[in-house]
């Protein structure tokens, strides 16, 4: 934890209203990006007037920053759970499933994050180079251990993590495209089941047919 300013005292109303605003802001920011969103939109989504909203947050930037700070912890949680107990392939499969569930259950968070990265991560680059890099490096070491033990194939653990991020978050970030291509038939819940099954197969065994036995 980096040094944080002492948490200011807040009344009950302040806490509730701030939560309300952050929820509304997540909705709006994730749909239109930072520059594409207006304080008025957020205020309306939160059911209050613009000046009222600005009573709880100093600025639009302030809302976004608060949102991003909370998000990063949640976002990296599945990776934090990846550890050395249990069978490596099972661990990885579990990680993939958790990430895919996050894409399904928290698509707004995924898109908010994707938006920020796409714009060059102007507001969270330090966090990426700090906490995130440290965590990924740590987990890469765990994976390297599995490779040395012959539990999984020898390959690059960093790119492995990237590929898990990419394939799972794709279903949140590129949702419109996925829907457009799959069409209205194969929609709904089954999409994620099919994705989960496919990804498991891909990551475990790839595409080349195996010899029987």
């Amino acid at each position: 934890m980096t040094a944080a300013a002492a948490a200011p005292r807040r009344t009950r109303i302040q806490q509730e209203k701030r939560e309300l605003i952050l929820e509304a802001a997540l909705e709006v920011f994730s749909a239109h990006g930072f520059r594409g969103s207006t304080i008025d939109q957020i205020a309306e989504a939160a059911g209050m007037s613009k000046p009222n909203l600005l009573y709880y947050f100093r600025s639009k930037e302030d809302i976004h920053e608060t949102l991003m700070q909370r998000l990063l912890d949640t976002w990296l949680a599945p990776l934090r759970e990846l550890d050395n107990v249990g069978d490596p392939l099972t661990e990885l499969r579990g990680y993939i499933r958790r990430k895919l569930e996050m894409a399904r259950d928290y698509p707004r968070e995924s898109r908010l994050f994707a938006n920020e990265i796409l714009q060059g991560a102007p507001r969270i680059k330090p966090m990426l180079e700090g906490d995130m890099k440290d965590l990924v490096d740590e987990k890469a070491e765990v994976i390297k251990g599995w490779m040395r033990d012959g539990k999984i194939v020898q390959t690059d653990p960093w790119h492995l993590i990237f590929s898990i991020w990419a394939t799972t978050q794709h279903y949140a970030d590129f949702d419109v495209q996925v829907r457009a291509v799959l069409g209205p038939d194969r929609d709904g819940e089954s999409r994620f089941e099919a994705a989960a099954h496919f990804l498991e197969q891909l990551f475990l065994d790839g595409l080349r047919p195996r010899r029987k036995g």
Copy 2:
């Protein structure tokens, strides 16, 4: 090809200036998104005044639309090349490599596209549900044929295509994050070589160690 308005006659200068503007707009839009970009920025990047730019394009929307229309063709070109001649695994490996090369050589195009999709594809949804879906469905059939022949493993061809898109475009769209995590050491050209090698391995054989022989 859907019905297009008859191409207006243009002078030599008009053609050149329009190209100049589109190049500048690609730079600006891909970095800041549509709403995040201003006509002034584009005009400056193109080395002309705002009213001058608006002499060549009716509006900001007009520039963006023109850009997107051109982009989609280029973007789907690698998939169009995927066909039934040659060994299936070689074909797929070639497709992955071509897509990765596009992410490396045309990151701005990738990000422009990602931006549009992230915002819900307000301007190109019809194209996604039309041309793009048709092409993907067609190629999915090709892949299904390979599966029937036992050339590749039985799985979902649509999700396979998604996973190729996701993993390759990730290196363009999430470039900042990739750099942040890999750090300044493993940067430069080698990053893409490592990615190519990793993806080839992943898609062909997955992570589970193979029995020898």
